[in-house]
């Protein structure tokens, strides 16, 4: 199975360890993984700002890089969702193919590979931040608003395979952290307040780490934690699923 690894631009530039962990995890569970070297960005920063009409170049580049894989996998719910909904190209057949074969990392592990064991250990108290685009866009977990549907969570299913981990329950289990792309700077006041409130929920429950499927949300919460000189750190779920003692 040929897997194309799509690493979102800000992970490539600022969180290479998350990308390395993702690569190692996919290789560990038996995938033949390649990282196409000319990839850049999914185009979401422009599109969510109202400039989807400027994303043609990013789209063509994405298609050039990822047309030839059985699956495209990314450690980001948000960028995956964007490609799934908005990737179009002069080669529309290739774009449609990618849209149907792109997966966020945890859903790829649970739904395609059906992973049931991981040799990982992470003996800490961990809070899971359910990033909205993965949660409500890709349906990675049951959503709190849809009260009558049965509970499930793909990230939790995987975290439960990790030795020693203690997952805490949040008071508000899937409220947005306020990152929101360019929202985090254009609506700074609300963005920061939302982030502070999310972080406080985790801190109230005594976590050592906050994890999630989107580094963008984690980066936002990390910025808030560090400003408050908190000892609590953020870790992308791939880092925990590959952690060893």
């Amino acid at each position: 199975m040929k897997v194309g690894l799509f690493i979102p631009c800000y992970i490539d530039q600022f969180y290479p360890n998350v990308a390395i962990a993702t690569l190692k995890l996919l290789e560990k569970v038996g995938c033949d993984v390649s990282y196409p070297l000319q990839q850049t960005c999914c185009g979401q920063p422009m599109a969510n700002s109202g400039f989807e009409h400027l994303t043609g170049g990013c789209n063509e580049n994405f298609v050039r890089n990822f047309a030839d894989f059985d699956y495209v996998v990314s450690p980001s719910g948000s960028c995956t969702l964007h490609i799934k909904h908005h990737l179009h190209s002069t080669n529309e057949e290739a774009a449609t193919g990618i849209r149907s074969r792109i997966y966020e990392l945890t859903e790829f592990l649970t739904d395609v590979l059906k992973v049931t064991s991981l040799d990982a250990t992470f003996p800490y108290k961990v809070g899971l931040h359910q990033s909205c685009h993965g949660q409500r866009g890709l349906h990675l977990a049951q959503m709190s608003e849809l009260v009558v549907s049965p509970p499930f969570s793909k990230p939790v299913q995987l975290l439960n395979l990790v030795n020693g981990i203690e997952l805490i329950q949040l008071d508000r289990r899937d409220e947005c952290c306020g990152f929101g792309g360019t929202f985090c700077v254009t609506e700074e006041a609300v963005s920061v307040k939302m982030g502070k409130d999310r972080v406080a929920d985790h801190l109230r429950h005594g976590v050592n780490y906050i994890t999630g499927v989107d580094v963008s949300c984690l980066m936002h919460m990390e910025g808030i934690l560090k400003r408050a000189n908190s000892a609590v750190e953020v870790k992308h779920i791939a880092e925990i699923l590959t952690a060893t003692l």
């Binding site: 490539d12 985090c184 609300v190 920061v192 910025g223």
Partner: protein, 459 residues
């Protein structure tokens, strides 16, 4: 409404967030309503089927608007109700003024109607020498304070008990410093009782207008619509044309959804059915377009007209809860307001679709399944394409697109950016960077993943 400079959403939110304790209180109060909604929904195993049914009925309505409205008019007229058609807010206001004058009245009592807020009816009537008293308790409170409602179901939700106490002390002569809800409500009750008994004209909103019967339903928790309408010689009901539903049996779907979504109650305390004027009474219905037919003609946005004004999307919205209703500078605040308002005035409301993280919670709670967050995204595209964004943003976005679509420029920019952060952080870590004001920057690594991959994997 006063004519002072209207702040855009982000600036108004900065003001709102200056009092963090109040923001916490506002957030918790509305989150409590959201959790009440969740508990009420959990009692109804067929909730999702109900939502789907409501959505389909409303889709049918949108596709058959013309015929249903004509059917409604015929049936209402047969029952002795006078129907008026208003193309916009001005016509709506003029029609109502005319009815009041015909009745020889110079004052009116009015129960909750967001439509009249949208049309700025109160100010219009006051300017014409007509006194208007809002009879919904929350609306009466904000009216005394010369404020618009901050929430479509809970108009005074931005006020604490103490603030209501101060307002009542000033306007109703209650004891200074009083905060006991029982005491304050009783004062309002006595004040409104006198109003109900002496007004010849009463205006109500309309929650549902039923095409097959020509009747309409008004939902309240206080019974104030009934008090007004039953005691007045003239009852005026104002409705946006999208309030129409085909049959009375459809109320069995909508009434179950409305109050559960709004406040977590199984049903509103009063669901009053009006069919014809009582002997000697006049009954008028004003059916208003005010941009609705334009919205109906927009394929991406027409289904915003399915809205039944429950406010579930406001209560669940993490942005609304932390920016307050006034930050939306529009009669309908919150996510639904942000997809309705650009239709009324794109220039004035271009900021609103950006007052969202696109988290999607609004679409999930919507009882008629409006794809609110997708429409927010689509409005952003329309507004920027039509040139309602700041020029600087267009320039920045074009530059960003140029860098991100070129692998070479992207890698170069990344290297420079990380270098700047590592070696000259002051250029980024200063008060001009809205990220850095209240958050630390991420720690820049020496090499990107791309470089790591080339160095460690490729060979």
């Amino acid at each position: 409404m006063n004519k002072q400079l209207i702040l855009d959403h982000a600036d108004a939110a900065v003001e709102f967030n200056k009092n963090e304790a109040k923001v916490d209180w506002h957030d918790e109060t509305l989150w409590f309503v959201r959790t009440k909604r969740d508990r009420a929904v959990a009692q109804i195993p067929e909730w999702e089927q109900l939502r789907e049914a409501a959505s389909q009925i409303k889709n049918h309505v949108l596709s058959n608007m013309h015929d249903l409205l004509i059917q409604f008019e015929e049936n209402a007229a047969r029952n002795g109700i006078k129907i008026h058609w208003a193309a916009d807010g001005d016509e709506h206001n003029a029609i109502i003024l005319d009815i009041i004058k015909q009745a020889g009245a110079n004052r009116m009592v009015k129960s909750k109607s967001m439509l009249t807020e949208e049309c700025h009816l109160n100010q219009f009537l006051i300017d014409k020498g007509i006194e208007v008293i809002d009879s919904d308790l929350g609306e009466r409170i904000v009216q005394m304070r010369n404020e618009p409602p901050s929430h479509i179901v809970l108009p005074a939700i931005h006020l604490t008990k103490a603030e209501v106490g101060e307002t009542f002390h000033e306007h109703l002569g209650t004891e200074k410093g009083a905060t006991d809800p029982q005491y304050l409500t009783e004062a309002a009750r006595q004040h409104l009782r006198e109003t109900f008994l002496t007004r010849k004209v009463a205006l109500t909103g309309v929650n549902f207008a039923i095409a097959e019967t020509g009747g309409f339903v008004v939902c309240t928790n206080e019974g104030n619509a009934d008090m007004g309408a039953h005691l007045a010689d003239v009852h005026i009901a104002a409705m946006g044309f999208e309030k129409i539903i085909p049959r009375a049996e459809h109320l069995g779907v909508f009434l179950r959804l409305l109050a559960r979504s709004a406040t977590g109650q199984p049903i509103t305390t009063f669901s009053s059915h009006f069919h014809r004027p009582r002997p000697g009474q006049e009954m008028h219905i004003v059916i208003v377009d005010n941009g609705r037919s334009r919205q109906l003609g927009r394929p991406d946005f027409r289904n915003s007209l399915k809205c039944i004004r429950c406010a579930a999307c406001l209560n669940t919205c993490p942005v609304y809860r932390r920016s307050g209703g006034f930050s939306y500078h529009s009669a309908v605040a919150g996510p639904i307001g942000s997809i309705l308002a650009p239709n009324l005035d794109m220039k004035k409301n271009a900021d609103l679709p950006f007052a969202s993280t696109l988290c999607g919670s609004c679409s999930n709670v919507c009882p008629v399944k409006i794809d609110i967050h997708d429409q927010l995204y689509k409005w952003r595209q329309v507004l920027m394409k039509e040139g309602y964004g700041p020029g600087s943003k267009t320039v920045a976005m074009k530059a960003m697109a140029t860098v991100l679509e070129s692998p070479r420029l992207y890698r170069m920019a990344g290297k420079v950016g990380r270098g700047v952060l590592r070696f000259a952080p002051i250029t980024v870590e200063n008060g001009l960077n809205p990220w850095y004001n209240q958050r630390e920057m991420p720690e820049p690594p020496s090499e990107s993943f791309h470089d790591w991959y080339v160095n460690n994997k490729k060979a």
